[in-house]
Symmetry: C2
Subunit: 313 residues, 2 copies
């Protein structure tokens, strides 16, 4: 049984992870999630990208809000507001339970990997979800309003500050999670898929972990990158705004340039087909297809094509 | 402006505290609450008796359940149950917010006294609510099923175990809260009222704090005890079951005997009037009146009589 590794941030990555989990026997899929966004809020350990994956793969995600759980209620948050507590990161009543579970288990000495594995079993998710590290390298954003933690930038300030630099605190001392290293060494590994997540905020933290890029290169498995950019725009979130601030053109060629040292192929949208001849000189195969995954069928279809591509490369 | 100190446990005490806060200008009232029941649950600092007082005095208490907040919802608790977490101590969505507030403020270095003062201001409670101590002496119950923390005895095992002994861990090292000591020394103090709470589980922890009994005696202020027993039964909770297990008769005479060394007067229900001549030889004044406080008017009326008695003694 071949295995596949998906490297993912939150929402965009979770869409593809869901497609892959349907295109494969879900037990063939390991999703490694960004934990650079993780933070402690009101004393609770919160892992936004992992939770998005968990809820999406468990079919419990809130597609209306785009984050959190479906049919969420906000009774707790309302009282917090009345008490004058910080409520810029909104905690739903249902969502809160998994934060408390995680916080308690970590205090008891469990690793984040263990906790996430327990949660995905409880939520009947059959694909493996692995945090990039049990010892987080926190994403730090340098901006025109000062140094911000990821959530201060992303949620509290709604990505409005102009970003000059992104770095990952303590990343050189952070150990990749054991299951992450294990899947990279697994002889059954058939391919690595970099999901259409933000390259700077979601994927770079994972690839910046000590030894990860080298291990990916050494694995000699196909590395497919699904472009987070379509027709000069990011599909979701601040990717396109960030690319401008970091003096990069927001197009699929820039995405190919960012990943060309580790990627085997890039998957771009049909609307960006014209860029194929600019990308190929970088040494990347290019597949142009529909990568806008609104419907479940589209997610599964893209998943199928990626698996096929891994086999053919 | 005369001041009054009420010494209280949870529900029964809160009823009288509410009556007193209406019978007085609430700023004249200080309620010192038992914290022997306090515990940490899922990493949250929980103070059941204080919260009952807070909710009752803020007119937010759940009279249907007899504990917690009115119009409570249980979305969080349901998910906790699905996750297989301990749910014997049920945390409502609204209630949870004040536990998180307290836990965070204590972690930030605030004392429990400070936190409770903040909360009562936020809840617009004008009477002062003071924890007996910022360094809790936890109530421990020795029973036929072993040594239990208070909440294990009271909530988890619903007071079913047979009790042989009650003690208060670390009570000799626990310091009474500063505001508790202050009110006992206050020249404007006109009287001390021991609420109809459980003598063993709610009042004894408070009176067992180092120096407290001595300070009460030294204050030479009237000390009124409102009997938690009416017609041979406790009005609420396990008082009567406990008295039997501790080989005490469950009647107002026993209550008078428990408190006779510090009390000036005992307030008993009219139905227990016959016991007056047995009690008076203990050196206590006795007032017999209606002490069953179902309606707000009854609570206020009892409050008024107690204030009057303090003045006349």
């Amino acid at each position: 049984m071949g295995k596949y590794l998906a490297i993912s941030g939150g929402i965009g990555g979770a869409k593809l992870a869901l497609g892959l989990s349907h295109a494969l026997n879900p037990a063939q899929l390991t999703v490694v999630a960004n934990t650079g966004d993780d933070f402690i809020h009101h004393g609770l350990n919160i892992s936004p990208d992992i939770d998005t994956l968990l809820y999406t793969l468990a079919d419990l995600n809130n597609t209306e809000l785009g984050w959190g759980r479906r049919d969420e209620t906000w009774v707790f948050a309302e009282v917090c507001e009345q008490l004058g507590m910080d409520t810029w990161f909104r905690l739903g009543d249902k969502d809160l339970a998994i934060h408390l579970y995680r916080t308690e288990r970590i205090r008891q000495g469990a690793s984040l990997s263990q906790v996430i594995n327990e949660l995905r079993v409880k939520f009947k998710v059959r694909a493996e979800i692995v945090p990039m590290s049990d010892t987080t390298g926190a994403t730090i954003v340098e901006s025109d309003i000062g140094t911000l933690s990821f959530q201060e930038y992303f949620v509290k300030n709604r990505c409005k500050p102009k970003v000059s630099k992104i770095h990952f605190a303590g990343i050189n001392e952070a150990a990749p999670a054991p299951a992450f290293l294990q899947i990279l060494d697994d002889e059954e590994l058939q391919g690595i898929i970099i999901c259409p997540s933000n390259p700077f905020l979601s994927i770079d933290p994972i690839l910046s972990l000590p030894g990860i890029k080298e291990k990916i290169k050494k694995s000699a498995k196909p590395v497919l990158v699904v472009s987070p950019v379509v027709d000069g725009q990011s599909l979701k979130g601040p990717t396109s705004k960030l690319m401008h601030e970091l003096n990069l053109s927001c197009n699929v060629l820039s995405i190919a340039e960012i990943y060309h040292d580790i990627a085997t192929a890039i998957i771009i949208d049909t609307s960006d087909k014209f860029a194929i001849e600019q990308i190929e000189p970088l040494g990347l195969s290019v597949l142009s297809t529909n990568i806008i995954m609104n419907e479940l069928e589209e997610k599964i279809e893209l998943g199928r094509q990626l698996i096929e591509l891994c086999t053919s490369l």
